[in-house]
Symmetry: none
Subunit: 202 residues, 2 copies
DNA sequence: CGGTAGGGATAGGGTTCT
DNA sequence: TAGAACCCTATCCCTACC
């Protein structure tokens, strides 16, 4: 009827990956609207992009969605094995890493704090943070929740303890996603905790 | 972020329904502030409540929001199946019915049923039409707008064509909401038209 | 500014096709 | 039979409008 299973071409897949690299995961409509990819992807919907990306990621991580589900149920303690097939993981990381510097060009998280950002973090614990990531890790550490705080708590902590001149919601959300993807954080039931392997880096 | 899909529990849903029953639809912040529900719903926002209620209502009426939209556009033949899931419909009716007697106590229009209406399960469809409802239907019919008149036009029509001794604004607004909820009216872009399925009841 | 309504996007479970 | 492609819809997000 409508679409007899339109297989993804290599070109489309490349465009999708580039799009995720540029705009981050979860920005399917944005990617689709980007003139850089819209021509190649014009026969795809935002949902198609989402589904395809899921296939790519999950395949790289587990081999298939089915295995992924089984793995999540059967082995609650062991996370994904990054050594399996790192390509998609790399792409995910890369993509999310790029988010920071992208959205509106205003995020610029790693810019070594401008001359005197006109707003000094009032209650910073570890001096001038140049990275939102560090703030997030601090939040998780200080919040001391049994299974880790959830995203809202983290966001609230940051908003209450730092003077930010912008809305941190999306940025924090992006970075949580990123830190989870690269394995720095472990996400369980919407709660984030710092991976044991990274505790010493905090 | 914090909750990429925090599914509603049965308990939360019950609290929401009770809240609507008590305070009426559209009073999401009020429901959230009511100590009777605030503990159960503490992880929800007023917007969450609004969305969930929309989902409950629309699911009961049409099966899903998508189907509802499709039904509004085409498919003149198939309407909602009242026998499908009447519970939410009933609750919607009940809730809105209570609104009438609630706000300022001045609405209190015509209880079509005897005094003991308070403990009686209301009939959702063909339900308690008030005289104002009939006037509203007349207004919509006579105004003959392409996609139906909006609330203001309906109100103006009533004020111009009937001598009412009270301010009809809130009352008309309530009844429009009610008639929309029970499926008698279909609301699209602030305009109201009579559902094809109820045209013959006018 | 805070709240609500409504449109619309996303996430994830489920289904169909190959 | 597995996996890719696609569907369904609860939930979440954005914006206009009071």
């Amino acid at each position: 009827m409508g679409a007899p299973k339109q297989k993804w071409t290599a070109e489309e897949e490349t465009a999708l990956k580039a799009g995720v690299l540029k705009h981050g995961t979860g920005k399917w409509r944005t990617i689709l609207s980007d003139p850089e990819y819209s021509s190649v992807l014009k026969s795809r919907s935002n949902v198609d992009l989402k589904d395809k990306w899921r296939n790519i990621s999950v395949t790289a991580l587990w081999g298939s969605r089915k295995k992924a589900k089984l793995a999540q149920k059967g082995t609650p303690t062991s996370g994904p094995r990054p050594d399996d097939n790192a390509t998609a993981i790399t792409i995910v990381s890369l993509a999310n890493g790029h988010i920071g510097g992208d959205v509106g060009g205003q995020l610029m998280l790693d810019a070594p704090s401008p001359p005197e950002a006109s707003c000094e973090p009032p209650r910073a614990f570890k001096g001038p943070f140049t990275s939102v990531d560090k703030i997030i890790l601090e939040a998780i550490t200080n919040l001391k929740r049994p299974f880790g705080p959830d995203g809202k708590s983290i966001l609230r902590y940051i908003e209450e303890n730092f003077k930010m001149q912008q809305d941190m919601k999306r940025l924090v959300s992006s970075r949580l996603k990123y830190l989870t993807n690269v394995g720095t954080l472990v996400k369980t039931k919407h709660k984030y905790r710092i991976s044991p392997n990274y505790m010493d880096e905090v």
